[in-house]
């Protein structure tokens, strides 16, 4: 395993602002880094879900069914994201048995940048959910609240899809490079 490439160090620093234990996919820490990222996504999704759930409960009790309906849809999407992240592939410790090849600098860059972008995206989702709850409690119009909730749902969906590309990158690591015939 190679060391962390220099040109992705800013991304690593950015992630470390949120996850202090993150050190990139250095040797022997690939699974730890992966686990940290996934836990952070789940945690952020939980925060988002809490905000949206609060809106849902309040809207249902107030009889604002359209808002509650939008909130329920967002919650369902968040649950799907959590499930995707929770059951995503990690990679194996034993490359010999798994057939994995060593990660190259390009792979590390992709993974680190990907982690940074996913964290950024899920953080945005939390912020939007927070804004939606704040707007709901501060008398924002139902249309605006629904708009924010749907933005949050859209961001979650994007995050879910973006996280799915992680499997593609890790899948690339599972493919051993064919030896060139001389």
């Amino acid at each position: 395993m190679l060391g962390t490439p220099l040109d992705v160090l800013p991304y690593v620093r950015g992630i470390q602002m949120i996850l202090s234990g993150y050190s990139g996919y250095t040797k022997g820490k690939r699974r730890d880094a992966d686990k940290l990222i996934r836990e952070e996504i789940v945690r952020a999704a939980g925060r988002t879900r809490s905000h949206i759930s609060n809106i849902h409960d309040s809207a249902f009790k107030d009889g604002a069914i359209p808002i509650a309906r939008a909130a329920k849809a967002a919650c369902t999407e968040i649950d799907a994201l959590v499930e995707d992240v929770d059951k995503s592939p990690t990679g194996m410790d034993h490359a010999f048995f798994s057939g994995s090849r060593s990660a190259s600098n390009s792979d590390l860059k992709k993974l680190i940048k990907h982690d940074h972008d996913v964290i950024e995206m899920v953080t945005k989702s939390v912020n939007i959910a927070n804004s939606a709850e704040h707007g709901f409690n501060s008398g924002l119009s139902p249309e605006e609240i629904i708009k924010l909730i749907r933005q949050c749902q859209q961001m979650t969906t994007s995050c879910r899809g973006f996280f799915g590309t992680r499997a593609t990158i890790l899948g690339g690591l599972r493919q051993k490079k064919k030896l060139k015939k001389e």
Binding site: V42, R43, G46, F60, A68, R69, K72, D79
Partner: protein, 407 residues
């Protein structure tokens, strides 16, 4: 003997609290945590790590741990709280009434999940009960609250059994379940995901179903009857058609026989007709030949007759010429004698009278000589009858022109 400790022996088990001190085996045990399993360690009353997707070695048993316990080198109380982290469906039966009094039975399905961070909350569940949580126990825990806080209020908004089947009811039920049950589930360590209700048929629906079934049975019977009638009609038409075909065939066969007979008879008739025609031609030929022969004889007779007549006319003309010449000569002589008499003065009335007498007598002689044949001719030309054919012939004819018989 495997050293793997299995915390879950039944698929309905959702969580289990295990006292590691109860695992007493000679060989140390390890547990393999799959992606949908997690374990929270509670060491000496404190909540420790929550692990997943990992092989946790030396969870209990073994000689080393036994010795450590004996020497007091290990924790006094070690408990492991295992849980399934995948979504779990629980079906809670209910029985309630609609506002119109209809009885409603069914199941409320809740989809819940234990997330890794919430596993320690399961201790609330195990505080005053057995350290095993399965679906049945969770149903018992949630049933009363769900019936009173979710199902009964949701059903109270339904006016009839039909409202139970509407999507609005399901949506309202899910939202209400999430609102009302979230806090309880969260306290127990569960995350609420989805909910729906499945109701059995109500009495009114059963009546409607019975009506529908009876109607369907009636329609089915009607359809069968129609099909049977149609089949009978088809068979009838087929039978009639077959009979008609057979009759036609029989008719055709009979007509064929008749036609054959007719044809044979016709052939006979034609044969006889041809025979008759041949005989007729033969007779006509014969008669024609006879006619030709007869006409030939007649022509010959007519030709002979014409020759005789021509000779006769020539002879009469010759006689007339001779007579005229003689009369002319006599007239000349008489003229000359008159002239001589006149010249001699001997032309007296007596001479003239005598002359006229002689002239008259001469004319009478000439005339009688000329008229005699005609008078005689009239007598000889009187019609006669041919003894051969019976036709009228002239008296002077030597042969009959019709039959050629000699007269």
């Amino acid at each position: 003997m495997s050293n793997v400790y299995r915390w879950r022996s039944n698929p309905t088990i959702l969580a289990r609290l295990v006292n590691a001190n109860d695992i007493q085996t000679w060989k140390s045990k390890q547990v393999i945590l799959k992606p949908n399993e997690a374990c929270a360690f509670i060491i000496d009353g404190r909540i420790g790590d929550i692990v997943s997707e990992k092989i946790v070695r030396n969870v209990g048993g073994g000689l080393g741990r036994y010795l450590g316990d004996m020497l007091g080198a290990t924790a006094t109380d070690r408990r492991m709280l295992f849980a399934m982290t995948g979504p779990a469906d629980i079906s809670i039966p209910f029985e309630s009434n609609l506002p119109n009094g209809s009885k409603v039975q069914g199941f409320a399905n809740l989809r819940v999940q234990i997330r890794d961070d919430d596993i320690p909350k399961l201790l609330n569940m195990f505080a005053n009960s057995a350290p095993l949580l399965d679906r049945e126990r969770l149903i018992k825990v949630l049933q009363h609250e769900l019936n009173n806080r979710v199902i009964a209020p949701a059903l109270s908004q339904c006016q009839s059994g039909e409202d139970l089947r509407k999507p609005d009811f399901q949506e309202q039920f899910e939202m209400r379940a999430e609102v009302e049950m979230r806090s309880t589930l969260s306290t127990l360590g569960f995350t609420f995901l989805k909910a729906f209700v499945a109701t059995n048929s109500t009495d009114s629906e059963k009546i409607a179903q019975l009506r529908s079934e009876l109607s369907a049975a009636t329609q089915t019977e009607g359809a069968h009857a129609e099909a049977l009638m149609e089949r009978i009609a088809i068979r009838e038409s087929a039978t009639l058609r077959r009979i008609e075909c057979e009759v036609n065939v029989a008719k055709a066969q009979a007509a064929g026989k008749v036609s054959v007979e007719m044809e044979s008879e016709l052939k006979e008739l034609r044969k006889q007709e041809a025979q008759w025609e041949a005989e007729l031609k033969r007779d006509q030929g014969r008669s024609e030949m006879k006619m030709k022969e007869a006409s030939h004889k007649t022509e010959q007779a007519m030709a002979l007759f014409e020759q005789v007549q021509a000779k006769k006319r020539a002879r009469i003309n010759q006689q007339h010429d001779h007579q005229n010449q003689r009369m002319d000569k006599q007239n000349d002589i008489q003229m000359k004698m008159m002239e001589m008499a006149a010249q001699n003065g001997a032309l007296t009335p007596d001479v003239m009278q005598e002359f006229l007498k002689q002239q008259t007598a001469q004319k009478a002689v000439d005339g009688s000589g000329g008229d005699m044949p005609s008078s005689m001719g009239q007598q000889t030309n009187s019609p006669k009858v041919c003894p051969g054919c019976g036709n009228t012939v002239q008296a002077e004819w030597n042969a009959c022109p019709n039959c050629g018989n000699s007269l």
